[in-house]
Amino acid sequence: MAAGGGNQPPQIAPYRPYRLLRTLTGHSRAVSCVKFSYDGTSLASASLDKTLIIYSSATLDTIWRLVGHSEGVSDLAWSSDSHYVCSASDDRTLRIWDAHNGECVKTLKGHSGFVFCVNFNPQSNLIVSGAFDYTLRIWDVKTGKCVRVIEAHSDPVTSVHFIRDGSIIVSGSHDGSCKIWDAATGACLKTLIDDKVPAVSFAKFSPNGKFILVATLNDTLKLWNYSTGKFLKLYTGHVNRQYCITSTFSVTNGKYIVSGSEDNCVYLWDLQGKNMIQKLEGHSDTVISVSCHPTENKIASAGLDKDRTVKIWVQDA
C-alpha cells in the first residue's frame, strides 16, 4: 500500500500532508472513541478498559483519568462549554464527568441495553443517547432525569447527533435505517434510508446543519441533503464492513472528510471532489474513531484492541 502522501488534485494551495506527531498509550484495552473539546483545549478518549482519559490538547499530557464505569465505554461527548464530558458504557449507564476536576457528577440510568452512542445538544441542557435496547433516550442534564424515550429502531442504535440549533436529532441503526426526529416532541420527521442492508454505522450533521454524513457497512460514506432526500457525494476507498467507525468534517484548512478504516488507516477525502487525498498509516488495528481539532490542523485517531493507542497527526506549517 502507498505510504503517507496522496494524490495531488488541482487546488488553490498545494495539499500539505498530515504526519504523525505523537502516539498516546494510556489505555490497556481497545480505544473506542476520541474527541477534541469544542474550545480545542482538551482531548478525551474512551476505552473498553472502562476508563476515559482527558489530555491537554497542546501538550498531550494526561490530565485526568475518569474511573467509575463497570464495563467498557463505547462513546463520549463534550458539552458545548467544554466543561463536561458524557460517556456511554456497556454497563447500561451514562456518566457525566466534570472535565475540570475529573469527578463523576451524574449517572444516568434507564437504558436496558449497552449504551452505544451519546451526544449533547448545542445548548448542552439535553443529552441524547442510543443503545442496544433499540431506543433513543433524551436526558435532562441538570436533573439527570430521562425526559423522553423514543422507540426508534428495530436493531441497535449506532449513532445519534443533534443539529446545530438542537431542534432535530439524526439516528442511525443496524436495521439499515437513518431517521430524523423532532427533539421537542419525539416525533419521527423523516426517514432518510430504509433499506435493510447495509447497516448504518454512523450519521452526523454537517456544521451548518444542512447535510448529513452517513456511513454504511458496505465501505461507503455518503453526504445526504436530507430535505431533498438525495445524497450528493459518495466517498469510497476505505474498508468498513464490521465496526461503527466515526467520520468527521475537517474545515480548518480546506474542506475534507476524515474517516477511520478497517485496514488500519485514516482516510482523508476532498469534500467536493470526492477523491482520496491522503491515507495516514501507523495504527496496527482498525481505526475506530477520528476527531478534528476545531481550530488547528490536528487530527486524533483511535485504534482497536491490537493497537490500543491514540495517535495525533498534524499538518506541517
Binding site: G72, Q123, N125, Y134, K142, R148, S167, G229
Partner: protein, 558 residues
C-alpha cells in the same frame, strides 16, 4: 434550514394541555424573545426562570427582604435582563445570567404592568402602568420618573400631575391606563378611560396623534403583534379590537411629524391630533363573545401574528378563545376549574402557556399525531386523489438508463457545509450576536448515598413521553415490561453487577464494538428481551441472583 422538514403546519394553534409546571404560586408569565426560557413571577416575591426545552427550572431570582407578590414580568430584548414589578410598589431589574439585582426603583403606586424599552440601546428604561394613575416612564440609571399624558382635553394635553381631574370628565378613580412601546420603542401608545389612544414619542413625551376607539369604552390593555403591524386593544365594553398600524416600523417619529406638517391648516389642536391619529391606526377587526358577554383577560397575538387569543376568567373559568386574524373563531380551549390569571403565546411554536389562580402554569400544545409518511423515505402524502398519467416509455424494457444519468449529475454539485442561513423570522439584526438564549445547565451532583432515593426518582420514567416507530412492535412489549424493571437497576449495585456479569457470560465475548454487533445480529430480538425481563424480575429478590440467572441463560440455548 432544518425547518423545511419540520411540520409545515407550524403556524397552527394548540389543542390540549400537554404538561403543567409547578413551583410555588406563579402569577404572571413571560417568554423571552426566542421562547427558550419562560419567566414566572411568584406570590412570594421571587421570579422563577424555566428552561422551556427541558421543562425544568433554570434559575430562581430571589431577594430575601422583598416578599410582595410579583404582578408583572418582562424580558429585555437581548434576554440578559428581567424586569419584575411587585405589589410593594417596587420595580426590580435582574440580571438573568448572574441572578443578581441590577437596579431597583420604588414608585408611588403598585405597577400592574411593566414593560422594558424594546431597543437594546436603552435597556434601563421601562414603562410602568400603575393601578390607578397615569403610566410612568422610569429610567433606572438616573432614577428619573416621567409621568405620561393621558388625555388631550380642549385646554391642551394635560399631564397626570396637574389635577385630580386628570382623567377628564369624572370617570372612575381606579382605572388602569395601559401603555405600550411600539416595536422599536420610538413611540409610546397610551390608552385612556375615554377610549382614546394617544400616540407620543418616548424622548420628548410629545403627543402626536389621538385615535378614538369606537364605543368610547375604557381601554384595559393594549399589545402589539410581534412584527409591530397590528395593535390589539381590550376595552371595557367586552370587545377586543385589532388596529392596523400604518406607521413604518422605523422612523415612526419622522413620519408623524410629516403627517402633522401636512395638516398645518387645522386650528383646533384636538382635531388635528385626531386627524393625525387616523392616519396611524385603522380599525380592522372586532371580537366579542356574544353569548356570555364577559370581560376578556390577557389578550395577545400568536408569535407569527396569525392568531389572536383571549381568555375568559371572570366566573372562575379557564377558557381560552383563539381567532384567526380574519375574525373567525377557530377554537375554544377549556382548562381546569381554576381561574386563569395570565396567558402567553410561544414566540415560535404553536404553544400557549397559561397561569391559573392555583399557581400552576399549564402548557397547551398541538395534539401529537404520528406522521406515518415520515417512516418511508420516498412516501409522499396526497391531499386528494390525483390522476396518474403514464409516460410514453413507462412500460418499455429499458428504464434504468434514465436513473443512472440523474444520480451522476447530482454528485457534481458544489456542497457548502459551513454557510448558515439567517433565521428570517426573527430578523432584528442589531442584536442577534449577544442574545442570551439559554442558561448553562449545570448537572446537580449525585450523592453516593442517594441510591435508595433513585427508586423514587426513576419511577418517574413511567411518566416519560414515548414515541414509537411502527417497525418495532416487539419493542412495545419491551416498554411495558420495562416499567416495573427499571426501578431495579438502581436498587442495589451488587445485584446490578451480578446481572451484568450474567449477561456478559452469556455473550461469550468481550464487549468490543464490532464483535458485539455480530453477536447481536445472530440473535433474535424477542428472545433477548424476554431474557432481560426475566433477569430483572429475578434480581428483584436480590438473593441468589447468580444462581438463578444461570437458568434462563441455559434455557435460551445460546
Amino acid at each position: 434550514m432544518n425547518t423545511m422538514i419540520i411540520d409545515p403546519l407550524q403556524g397552527d394553534f394548540p389543542e390540549v394541555i400537554e404538561e403543567y409546571l409547578e413551583h410555588g404560586i406563579m402569577k404572571c408569565i413571560a417568554f423571552n424573545r426566542r421562547g427558550t426560557l419562560l419567566a414566572a413571577g411568584c406570590a412570594d416575591g421571587s421570579c422563577v426562570i424555566w428552561d422551556f426545552e427541558t421543562r425544568g427550572i433554570a434559575k430562581e431570582l430571589r431577594d430575601s427582604d422583598r416578599v410582595a407578590p410579583i404582578t408583572s414580568v418582562c424580558w429585555s430584548k437581548n434576554g440578559h435582563n428581567l424586569l419584575a414589578a411587585a405589589a410593594d410598589k417596587s420595580l426590580t431589574l435582574w440580571s438573568v445570567s448572574t441572578g443578581e439585582k441590577v437596579a431597583r426603583a420604588t414608585l408611588q403606586q403598585t405597577t400592574l404592568l411593566a414593560r422594558l424599552h424594546p431597543s437594546s440601546t436603552a435597556p434601563s428604561i421601562c414603562l410602568a402602568c400603575p393601578l390607578s394613575s397615569a403610566p410612568v416612564l422610569v429610567d433606572f440609571n438616573t432614577g428619573k420618573t416621567t409621568d405620561l399624558p393621558v388625555s388631550v382635553s380642549v385646554a391642551g394635553p394635560s399631564t397626570a400631575s396637574h389635577s385630580r381631574n386628570k382623567f377628564g370628565d369624572g370617570s372612575l378613580p381606579y382605572t388602569p391606563t395601559p401603555a405600550t412601546f411600539s416595536k422599536n420603542g420610538e413611540l409610546i401608545y397610551v390608552g385612556n378611560s375615554k377610549g382614546e389612544i394617544l400616540i407620543m414619542d418616548y424622548l420628548n413625551v410629545h403627543v402626536y396623534g389621538v385615535v378614538s376607539v369606537p364605543g368610547g369604552a375604557l381601554i384595559k390593555s393594549m399589545v402589539f403583534s410581534r412584527n409591530g403591524q397590528y395593535l390589539l386593544t381590550n376595552s371595557n365594553d367586552r370587545t377586543l379590537r385589532i388596529f392596523e398600524n400604518l406607521l413604518p416600523s422605523k422612523g415612526g417619529v419622522k413620519a408623524l411629524e410629516k403627517i402633522s406638517k401636512t395638516l398645518v391648516g387645522v386650528q383646533e389642536v384636538v382635531d388635528k391630533l385626531k386627524m393625525v391619529g387616523s392616519k396611524c391606526l385603522v380599525l380592522s377587526r372586532e371580537f366579542q363573545d356574544s353569548v356570555t358577554r364577559s370581560h376578556w383577560k390577557a389578550p395577545c397575538f400568536s408569535g407569527d401574528g396569525e392568531w389572536v387569543v383571549g381568555a375568559l376568567a371572570s366566573k372562575g373559568e379557564h377558557k381560552i378563545y383563539i381567532w384567526g386574524k380574519a375574525g373567525n373563531l377557530v377554537k375554544i380551549l377549556e382548562g381546569p376549574k381554576e381561574a386563569l390569571t395570565d396567558l402567553a403565546w410561544h414566540p415560535e411554536q404553536p404553544i400557549i402557556v397559561s397561569a391559573s389562580l392555583a399557581g400552576f402554569v399549564y402548557i397547551w400544545a398541538k395534539e401529537f399525531a404520528e406522521n406515518w409518511s415520515a417512516f418511508a423515505p420516498d412516501f409522499k402524502e396526497l391531499e386528494e386523489n390525483e390522476e396518474y398519467e403514464e409516460r410514453e416509455d413507462e412500460f418499455d424494457l429499458m428504464p434504468e438508463t434514465v436513473k443512472v444519468k440523474e444520480s451522476n449529475t447530482i454528485e457534481d454539485e458544489e456542497v457548502d457545509i459551513l454557510a448558515v442561513d439567517k433565521d428570517s423570522a426573527l430578523s432584528d439584526s442589531d442584536l442577534s450576536q449577544e442574545e442570551l438564549c439559554f442558561l448553562p445547565a449545570i448537572p446537580s451532583p449525585d450523592a453516593p448515598e442517594q441510591q435508595e432515593k433513585y427508586l423514587g426518582s426513576s419511577s418517574q420514567l413511567e411518566g416519560c413521553n414515548r414515541s414509537r416507530s411502527p417497525l418495532s412492535e416487539e419493542a412495545e412489549q419491551n416498554v411495558q415490561e420495562e416499567n416495573p424493571g427499571s426501578s431495579l437497576f438502581v436498587g442495589n449495585s451488587a445485584a446490578e453487577e451480578v446481572a451484568t456479569d450474567g449477561r456478559v457470560k452469556r455473550r461469550r465475548k468481550p464487549s468490543e464494538k464490532g464483535l458485539e454487533l455480530q453477536a447481536e445480529k445472530g440473535r433474535q430480538p424477542s428472545t433477548k428481551k424476554k431474557c432481560l425481563a426475566k433477569n430483572r424480575k429475578k434480581s428483584r429478590g436480590q438473593e441468589n441472583c447468580a444462581g438463578r440467572n444461570e437458568e434462563p441463560v441455559t434455557d435460551e440455548g445460546n
